[in-house]
């Protein structure tokens, strides 16, 4: 489960947002799962998978603190100590259903991989992606190539002004897949779409379910985000 992977590329794709590709052979990666990445800090950094092509795994990350700054300074050919893939992803077998993907900010990346996989399975999707402003937008064309894509920005500098909940209200769908900030997940989890899945982010310790750092309250007790999730049916968690 722990392996050293080699960095193939590491570039900025939007404001404070980096795309890193690593060579990770012989691993099956389900959309919605994550890798726990070692930096020089004590705790690993959980990063969701934005894409998998052959042996190449893509991570998108926002440069926020010491760990992600260190990742941003990594060069092609450097290796990373990773654990993974970890956790449980999105349920893909949505044949015959209308699927809407709703992502916010750095929650957008796992939705790209899931959309690609659904597209390969012949399942049509609509994507609604929310960002702060034009400079923060990434992967717009890549998403467009896979189906209808609606972009929102809080300041209106690109796409529709406002939050993802605006366009979501006019969309008729059977299933919702979502990843993004807690406030956004809370809002989309309350949508009238019958089946709703949310991918939750939390500060993690071990990443494998042993330390109880990343728990989330549930109707009955709690769930562990790292090992029970990070993707949950919205009915299973209290956001």
């Amino acid at each position: 489960m722990r392996r050293d992977v080699t960095i193939i590329s590491n570039r900025q794709i939007a404001k404070a947002t980096m795309e890193m590709k690593v060579r990770c052979p012989g691993v099956e990666v389900a959309p919605g799962t994550f890798f726990h990445i070692k930096t020089s800090g004590l705790l690993r950094r959980p990063l969701s998978v934005a894409n998998v092509e052959g042996e190449e795994v893509t991570f998108l990350y926002k440069v926020i603190g010491e760990g992600t700054s260190e990742l941003a300074n990594k060069r092609v050919g450097d290796t990373l100590d990773v654990l993974g893939p970890l956790g449980n992803g999105f349920p893909l077998a949505q044949y015959g259903k209308r699927v809407v993907l709703v992502g916010g900010g750095i929650g957008v990346p796992p939705l790209y991989y899931v959309r690609r996989r659904l597209h390969e399975m012949g399942i049509e999707t609509i994507a609604i992606l929310g960002f702060d402003s034009k400079e923060s937008v990434f992967y717009e064309e890549a998403f467009q190539a896979l189906g209808e894509t609606i972009i929102t920005t809080v300041d209106g500098s690109h796409g529709e002004r406002g939050f993802v909940t605006g366009p979501l209200a006019r969309i008729d769908a059977d299933v919702l897949f979502s990843c993004g900030p807690e406030a956004m997940l809370k809002a989309v989890a309350a949508s009238p779409i019958p089946e709703r899945y949310v991918s939750i982010e939390n500060r993690m310790g071990c990443g494998i379910g042993a330390c109880f750092a990343c728990v989330c309250k549930a109707p009955e007790g709690y769930v562990k985000v790292c090992s029970d999730g990070p993707v949950f049916n919205a009915e299973e968690v209290l956001l």
Partner: protein, 308 residues
């Protein structure tokens, strides 16, 4: 046999034990390696009823360390006995139960129930958790209360009792002597140091509990010093913990006077760390010219130390 360590209630095939709270009930790590290689396992704290613990965020990274404020989340002692111990009993390793509570009665009840299970070989009395409002560390910072609780739990437990000491105290040797006099069979030390981190974007503490327990390499020198002092002050054995992540860290604690060593936070950084330390021990002993690992126990303060 050069790694074998015998302690009250415990036949450790080697002195490496995952620390309580960092290893759950073993299930997750059992998927990564055979738990039977471990000297023992200190399982997650048990309370009488199930506890959810604190709000999140529960962890924050610090320089060479981390803060946690989990808050003794556990399914309750009966669920642990019914659902967790049968799995742990399938491994050839010594299981040590960590016992916590809000009142003396709760500690006594949890110790009585869990010590009666044949899978449990010893009790670790947790009087040092900094992350709960009631009980926990309040018992571990007053030697009179700690001694009284030790006496009560010792009377209720059918297995040897190791008292887990808090470093958040002026004189840890006074505390160690007090619980030894009250009948403790051994000591485990140290629990985490109380700390805080503040997010300068919000101006607020990062942890939802505001304060948390500091662990990791940052606290190792504090732990080594405390083990060194306590080992000279008491006659009961010490299982040491605090920032261990390499084979040399283990030896440092043995030199300071410990008889076994627990590995905590390092399991998060590298879930295979206990396995790697156990595998590295024999060749490290060879290179240092040490025959049995306990040949150097307490050597930091005494040149001649006999084996147990």
């Amino acid at each position: 046999m050069r790694l074998h360590v015998e302690l009250p209630g415990l036949q450790l095939k080697n002195p490496i034990i995952p620390a309580s709270g960092c290893f759950g009930f073993g299930e997750e790590f059992a998927k990564l390696y055979d738990l039977s290689i471990l000297g023992g396992i200190m399982i997650k704290a048990a309370t009488e009823e199930s506890r959810f613990g604190n709000a999140t965020p529960r962890v924050a990274e610090t320089a060479q360390g981390m803060l946690n404020a989990i808050g003794l989340q556990n399914p309750g002692v009966d669920a642990i006995i019914e659902e967790k111990l049968p799995f742990l009993s399938t491994f050839d390793t010594e299981i040590i139960a960590n016992v916590a509570g809000s009142t003396p009665d709760e500690y006594v009840e949890v110790a009585r129930r869990i010590s009666a299970d044949p899978t449990i070989k010893a009790i670790e009395l947790n009087i040092s958790c900094p992350n709960v409002k009631c009980g926990g560390m309040q018992f571990g910072t007053d030697p009179v209360m700690a001694a009284e609780l030790t006496r009560l739990v010792k009377a209720a437990s059918s297995k040897p009792v190791y008292v887990k000491l808090s470093p958040n105290i002026t004189s840890i040797t006074d505390m160690a002597r007090a619980v030894e006099a009250a009948g403790a069979d051994g000591l485990t030390m140290i629990n985490t140091l109380v700390g805080m981190r503040i997010d300068i974007q919000t101006g607020q503490p990062i942890l939802a509990n505001r304060i948390g327990g500091l662990s990791g390499p940052a606290i190792k020198p504090v732990a080594v010093r405390m083990v060194y002092e306590v080992a000279q002050a008491v006659d009961i054995p010490i299982i040491a913990m605090g920032g261990v992540r390499t084979v040399d860290d283990v030896l440092e604690f043995i030199y300071a006077g410990a008889s076994a060593v627990a590995v905590g936070t390092a399991n998060f950084e590298n879930p295979y760390v206990c396995q790697e330390i156990i595998e590295a021990l024999p060749s490290r002993l060879d290179s240092l010219g040490i025959e049995h690992i306990l040949d150097v126990r307490g050597k930091a303060y005494a040149q001649l130390v006999s084996r147990p």
